[in-house]
């Protein structure tokens, strides 16, 4: 007898990948289970899935946003605990952290992938202008300055209109070097550091300097604008997330390279944001729990990890088993893990679950700082004030 499984997802870009590669691979092994991948627009995803879960019409498998959103679902009993799922042992605690209760007891989603921040650049442009990949911040700004002088390229493709670009590609990207990755993040949660501390304000100050190197009218530049500016060869540097790799590859007709966020001084320890981004969980109301678990176990397997990482380069497997990736750029990103400390976005866990939402506050302040409508200090103050309004660190 055939069982029908439905996956709720916001990854509608991945629809072909699932339809053409992943699902056939699974179904070949489990001919009695039919899987449907039902993606929707990411903007609708949270609210739509919530409504469906509440009314009991959601699919059997739920793609999990990291941290608090999924945690909330679990706490409402909408996601089933997956501690004893076969294959869960393939993931490290760090990998599971995004989908585990605060006490570390229960995991409720199978981690699928993380994304790494850094900068992608146009190799041809660098050659033309005659600059090298920067290692330190100083060099970084020197490179920008040179490209600007040259005048053929917009130094850096980023806009502030969508706000999240400013935070995700900016603050979260370069910040870990300042607040020393996990150290700073944990201190923030513990309350021993404040967002008004220099290590949290300085990255804003650096961002503020970016302003001069962004394209004309960057205030109204949207995320796709930035992408296209870069892939059409009009900009030299793109502050990126690794998820850009696949689309950029298919769109740009020049060679691209990548470098991690520059450190302050030569030889400083480097930190990168390696953020758990996507997992998959089991609808607690599902009528097909057994089949669904079968599927989840398969997702936890190295086979899936390899399949997924190669189909969607830039989404790096969280599986402990090393995954062989063919894409060079993706390899470049992953290679940073060797030298640099990794961390997740500071606003994602625990401090990000209140109201005002720290993540959104950081979007807003980052954009404002780059636009020049707010000073770095104000940005620190405002975010801290928002945090203080609800967050009481455990003593």
């Amino acid at each position: 007898q055939e069982t029908q499984l439905t996956i709720e997802s916001w990854r509608n870009d991945d629809l072909p990948i699932w339809q053409e590669k992943i699902i056939p691979a699974f179904e070949a092994k489990h001919p009695d289970i039919k899987v449907t991948f039902a993606p929707m627009a990411p903007t609708e995803y949270n609210s739509a899935v919530n409504a469906k879960l509440e009314a009991g019409t959601a699919g059997d498998l739920i793609t999990c946003r990291p941290f608090d959103l999924s945690l909330a679902m679990f706490e409402k009993g909408q996601l089933a605990p997956l501690n004893d799922l076969e294959g869960m042992e393939n993931f490290s605690d760090v990998a599971k952290s995004a989908w585990t209760t605060d006490d570390g007891q229960t995991t409720f989603c199978v981690p699928m992938a993380s994304v790494i921040h850094g900068f992608i650049y146009n190799k041809a442009a660098f050659e033309e202008v005659g600059v090298e990949v920067p290692k330190t911040e100083e060099e970084f700004f020197a490179v920008l300055e040179k490209i600007k002088e040259d005048g053929n390229y917009i130094p850096m493709a980023m806009g502030t209109k969508d706000q999240w670009e400013a935070a995700t590609m900016g603050y979260y990207n370069i910040g870990p070097n300042y607040w020393k990755g996990e150290e700073g993040r944990k201190a923030l949660i513990a309350g021993t550091q404040k967002l008004t501390d220099p290590q949290w304000v300085e990255p804003y100050a650096t961002l503020a300097k970016w302003k001069d190197y962004l394209g004309d009218g960057f205030e109204a530049q949207t995320y796709p604008d930035s992408q296209n500016l870069f892939t059409l060869g009009r900009a030299a540097i793109y502050p990126a997330g690794s998820w850009e790799i696949a689309p950029f590859k298919s769109q740009a007709d020049f060679e691209m390279g990548a470098f991690p966020p520059p450190v302050k001084a030569e030889g400083d320890k480097c930190y990168i944001s390696d953020h758990n981004d996507i997992g998959i969980g089991l609808n607690a109301d599902s009528d097909n729990k057994e089949a669904a678990k079968t599927f989840l176990s398969w997702v936890a397997s190295p086979e899936f990890a390899e399949l997924y990482a190669n189909s969607a380069p830039g989404f790096f497997s969280l599986n402990s088993t090393p995954v062989k990736m063919e894409d060079e750029l993706a390899q470049e990103f992953v290679s940073w893990r060797e030298n640099c400390e990794t961390t997740i976005r500071p606003s994602a866990a625990i401090v990000g679950r209140g109201d005002p939402n720290l993540d959104l506050e950081m979007w807003r302040t980052s954009a404002n700082v780059i636009n020049g409508t707010m000073t770095p200090e104000q940005a620190g103050e405002e975010t801290q004030k928002g945090l203080d309004s609800w967050y009481k660190p455990k003593q």
Binding site: R11, P42, A51, L232, Q251
Partner: protein, 279 residues
């Protein structure tokens, strides 16, 4: 209409103004259509240019038409839209007639009650609606969508139609009553035909949000068999990357049917229906 009544200058001015506004209205649409026929690079390099043999590309349309059952989606959208409009017009006109024609206790309050619906976004009721549909087994049926859209369209329809129904000559209705017409006959045979322009207007107003709605199809009827065209098109709007070729093509395709429906309804906008009724 007599020539003498139209002055050359005035007509000229009117045409200039209308052409100007038409350009403003159509320019973005023109951009959409034109760019849906271009390759991706051309869209961004020269958004304003017409497709040339070099930049011409149907890739967007190919993507759209190969993804999923687009004609099925069309059909679903069409059924949902047309049936909902029909119900909104019928029920809305009936209620509007009762409110505008008869004086009875609570008339005003009922009018206000029926207008409440335009004051709160129906989205907020999603969970309860969905639960209701689950309870009645209507999830993943077009009926669920039709019911929601009918309810959603009614307040506005009643609001507008009752205003127009007030302009129908009392003498005319009196004549009908004398002629032995029942209240129903007066409504269907006299009043409805005379508010045709208003009905057309309401039909159009009702149609747009229904046709373009993403939310309820997503929640109530996301199944492949009941997917609507807008929901289908939405598949191309990604998280980080957007396949603009496909989006533009899908949306261009989705405009056409509404445009056709609009043209059909707007033919009811006729001048002088009431001419010659009374002196």
């Amino acid at each position: 209409m007599s020539k003498a009544r139209s002055s050359f200058l005035r007509t000229g001015f009117v045409h200039v103004a209308l052409i100007a506004y038409t350009l403003i209205a159509l320019f973005p649409v023109f951009l959409t259509l034109v760019n849906s026929l271009k390759s991706r690079n051309a869209i961004f390099r020269e958004p304003m240019a017409l497709p040339t043999p070099k930049t011409f590309s149907l890739i967007g349309y190919e993507t759209v038409l190969s993804q999923g059952d687009f004609f099925g989606y069309f059909q679903n959208s069409l059924i949902v839209t047309v049936v909902s409009i029909a119900l909104v017009l019928l029920f809305g006109a009936m209620a509007a007639f009762a409110l505008s024609e008869y004086r009875f206790r609570g008339n005003m309050l009922l009018g206000l009650y029926l207008a409440l619906g335009i004051m709160i976004p129906i989205r907020l009721g999603t969970v309860a609606i969905l639960q209701g549909m689950v309870a009645t087994g209507l999830v993943n049926t077009l009926t669920a969508l039709i019911l929601v859209y009918t309810a959603q369209g009614l307040p506005l329809a009643i609001f507008i139609l009752s205003e127009f129904m007030r302009t129908v000559s009392d003498d005319l209705k009196s004549a009908g009553r004398i002629d032995g017409l029942s209240e129903y006959a007066i409504f269907f045979r006299l009043v409805l035909p005379l508010v045709r322009p208003a009905m057309a207007t309401v039909a159009v107003f009702t149609m747009i949000p229904i046709w373009n709605d993403l939310w309820f199809p997503l929640i109530l009827a996301p199944g492949e068999a009941t997917k609507t065209i807008t929901l289908g098109a939405q598949m191309f709007i990604g998280q980080y990357v957007t396949n603009w070729n496909a989006v533009l093509s899908a949306l261009s395709l989705a405009i056409l049917p509404v445009l056709v429906l609009y043209v059909i309804f707007s033919r009811q906008l006729i001048r002088g229906i009431t001419s010659g009724a009374v002196k």
